[in-house]
């Protein structure tokens, strides 16, 4: 066994030293692996940005009340008085102040920083003192908007991706101009950082939704109260609503995006991986073709088939490691800390693309796996070859 190992080690050292003489085909394999590694890192960075966006999975004891015909806050409109009807429903967490929070959710087209094209941005208006149901948000700069004034605050990630947003600047929303009094951040950087917040009573008339709200967030006494709460509201005459658990509502919004971005992204990565694998197999095949006589000689002077095969695999792994690491590093260097603006179909989602070390290692690991598969074919071929034939080959 130890002799196989020492045979392998000396063969491996030799093959690495002879790599420069096979430079052009090795570079092809490395470039193939680098492209795969780079694209994989980009998809993982996007996935990471997304999981940051949907960081909070929503809680089971928060219910969202929407108009019956709507499946999203943006399209939903309820009369203002719906809020007071809901106060009577069973299952509310009565003790806490602000157990219900009526919110107006609408969109406004604002220019994005990259090319000035309009993107549809989510604007959330809060009613009265019920600021929000204890979200982990804090002001990064400036101060919160004041109720009764045309003031808004902007999420940090959104502020970075839109053009001309700073504390003290103003934005045209509907018929009024709103002053940006602050930039807020959410603990961990979730979806609220892609929103603009203000006073519902100021935003509604400006945006043509006077007297309307979109959704009512309700904190329930416990998560088991959801059924009775939902049943009560859905059967209440004069109130046409749909009630969702916050967790279900968010999951449904995530799915839509996953279908649009993640599945195509991964499909492209796997196709590229197959192509890179084939390219590397090609490289290894021509490498053994060129070295056929050399490898045959090695077998003839006593190197075992396992050592020769393992050496081919090891060379493939080295190519994979070089390519995968280069691709992952280049992609990470280009993407890390960047923010991307995309959409869930209704409103903008500002994602921060960060490449975590785990993601980079996962990408390199995948590329190594590809290179192992690519090396297996020539390795098996080589371990089976008839020594005499190999020696006669020109």
């Amino acid at each position: 066994m130890s002799s196989t190992l020492s045979q392998f080690l000396s063969l491996f050292a030799m093959s690495i030293r002879s790599l420069p003489s096979r430079a052009s085909s090795s570079i092809v394999a490395i470039v193939g692996f680098a492209v795969t590694g780079g694209v994989l890192v980009s998809v993982l960075a996007l996935a990471n940005g997304l999981s940051g966006f949907w960081r909070s999975p929503g809680s089971d004891d928060v219910a969202i009340v929407l108009a019956r015909s709507s499946f999203s806050e943006v399209g939903s409109r309820l009369a203002r008085n719906a809020g007071s009807l809901i106060q009577q429903a069973p299952g509310l967490a009565q003790a806490q102040r602000g157990a219900t929070s009526p919110q107006l959710v609408t969109t406004a087209a604002l220019p994005r920083a990259s090319d000035g094209k309009g993107v549809s941005v989510l604007v959330r208006g809060f009613d009265g003192a019920a600021w929000s149901l204890d979200r982990d948000t804090s002001m990064l700069a400036g101060h919160p908007f004041q109720h009764g004034l045309d003031e808004i605050i902007v999420g940090e990630k959104l502020a970075r991706t839109l053009s001309g947003i700073a504390v003290g600047s103003s934005l045209q929303l509907g018929v009024s101009r709103f002053k940006v009094t602050g930039i807020f951040k959410e603990q961990g950087g979730g979806r609220y950082e892609s929103e603009i917040w203000g006073d519902a009573n100021q935003l509604a008339p400006a945006m043509g939704d006077a007297g309307k709200i979109s959704a009512i967030y309700v904190r329930l006494a416990s998560k088991d109260d959801f059924e009775s709460f939902a049943n009560y509201l859905m059967n209440l005459p004069g109130l046409d609503v749909n009630v969702f658990r916050e967790r279900d509502y968010l999951a449904q919004q995530t799915d839509r995006f996953r279908v649009l971005v993640m599945i195509p992204g991964l499909a492209i990565v796997s196709l590229m991986g197959i192509a890179a694998m084939l390219a590397a197999a090609n490289t290894m095949l021509s490498a053994i073709q060129v070295r056929l006589r050399e490898l045959g000689t090695l077998r003839a002077i006593g190197f075992g088939p396992t050592a020769v095969a393992a050496q081919i695999l090891a060379e493939a792994l080295v190519l994979g490691l070089l390519g995968g690491a280069a691709g992952a590093l280049i992609a990470a260097g280009m993407l890390h800390g960047e923010s991307a603006l995309t959409s869930n179909g209704l409103s903008a989602m500002a994602l921060s693309l960060s490449v975590r070390p785990e993601a980079a290692f996962a990408a390199i690991g995948t590329v190594l796996l590809f290179s192992l598969i690519a090396g297996a074919w020539p390795a098996i071929l080589m371990s089976r070859i008839c020594v005499v034939d190999a020696l006669r080959k020109t």
């Binding site: 052009s24 509907g174 084939l278 095949l285 959409s343």
Partner: protein, 383 residues
């Protein structure tokens, strides 16, 4: 021995290498085919009629009701030919879980507004003459197994004066369209049918479509319309139709940039691979090629032979990859049509792919072919 047999025998040398190259190039063209198809969905419609249309909707909520009296004011703007107002009402047929979106439109403007919907004259007349008529696409007809002239009862969210939500329609007309961007499952009904009998929400629409006389006036007329309602509630947002579609889709990201980067990376790495393959093959076949030259083949014909071999392999691989892409796109289309309307492989994509394939083949083989043409008759002993 014919010339193509010579080419074929060249390609039979080291089949495993040829197979791997074929597979790699196929994958590159498969990706190209799918990206071209997706790009179709992300670019503005090439439809001529589309550039004559403006779309208006309420400025805030997606479904804010707007009084239909707006239509008359829009029609008074110079350069406007006709205005259509519409409501969208979801409807269900029997127990079928798939919903149908009924576009309740002002019927008299319908055919002039959407000339890409081809409807036979007698069906057109039947549709216009009957308030209860329903104009559907071929997909809808097939989905529910309806026949032309059949009366169908649909469940909607619209209540009539008796409190019922089911409405009877006559399937009087079926449209067809040569434009792949026109979905096959649209359904149009008369605005007046709902409006005359419904309770509440009378005389409102969710949007307007305006047909203008000259496409180059689109942006100007759109802003004139918006100014007209600047102080009304709700206000309108009007966009040229193709711009509206493009805006909606660019929200997901800069798709054309991503396409070019991905396709570029794949093609550059595959080009490197192919070039390397041809380089190696010339190196390995140098004895054979030198013999050919000794037999009287001119340098030019050796060069042409290698390039033709590369061309044959690349074109075969490109055809295979594109065919797979077209099958894949056709299979996926019904699944993604809701997200990506117009996801299809365009005919001119074949021309583009053919051009890419030819350039690819020449680029990958021209240097090795040149080297082959310059091979000396006698190989030096160190070779």
């Amino acid at each position: 021995m014919g010339y193509m047999e010579l080419v074929a025998s060249g390609l039979r040398f080291r089949k495993s290498q040829i197979f791997v190259t074929f597979a790699c190039v196929s994958i590159a063209f498969l990706l190209l085919g799918v990206l071209i198809s997706a790009r179709e969905a992300f670019t503005a419609s090439g439809n001529v009629a589309s550039s004559y249309r403006l779309r208006s909707q309420g400025s805030s909520a997606v479904t804010a009701p707007i009084p239909i009296s707006y239509a008359q004011k829009i029609a008074s703007v110079p350069g406007v030919k006709s205005v259509l107002y519409a409501n969208a009402e979801p409807a269900a047929y029997q127990d079928d879980p798939r919903h149908l979106l009924l576009q309740a439109a002002s019927a008299s403007e319908l055919f002039g507004m959407f000339p890409e919907l081809t409807v036979p004259d007698e069906q057109r007349k039947a549709f216009l003459g009957d308030k209860q008529s329903l104009l559907v696409g071929p997909d809808t007809l097939k989905r529910y197994g309806w026949k032309l002239g059949q009366a169908v009862t649909l469940q909607t969210n619209v209540l009539d004066t008796t409190g019922a939500a089911s409405w009877v329609f006559h399937v009087d007309a079926v449209y067809h369209s040569d434009d792949p961007k026109v979905p096959g499952d649209l359904a149009f009904v008369h605005y007046t049918y709902f409006n005359d009998a419904r309770v509440g929400n009378k005389d409102v629409a969710i949007g307007f479509v305006t047909y203008i006389n000259a496409p180059d006036q689109a942006t100007r007329i759109a802003s004139t319309i918006d100014q007209l309602f600047a102080t009304s509630s709700p206000r309108l947002i009007t966009q040229p139709e193709n711009q509206a579609m493009e805006n909606q889709l660019t929200q997901f990201g800069d798709f054309s940039k991503i396409t070019i980067v991905v396709a570029g990376l794949v093609f550059v790495s595959m080009l490197l691979l192919s070039h390397n393959v041809w380089h190696e093959r010339v190196q390995m076949r140098r004895v054979e090629l030198a013999t050919m030259k000794a037999l009287g083949f001119q340098p030019g014909s050796v060069l042409a032979l290698i390039i033709t071999e590369a061309m044959t392999l690349t074109l075969a691989a490109a055809t295979c990859g594109l065919a797979t892409a077209i099958v894949l796109v056709t299979v996926l289309r019904p699944l993604v049509e809701n997200f990506l309307p117009g996801f299809h492989f365009p005919l001119r994509g074949i021309a583009l792919s053919a051009a890419v394939a030819i350039v690819f083949a020449v680029l990958s083989s021209v240097l090795p072919a040149y080297r082959a043409s310059r091979l000396p008759f006698r190989l030096s002993s160190c070779d």
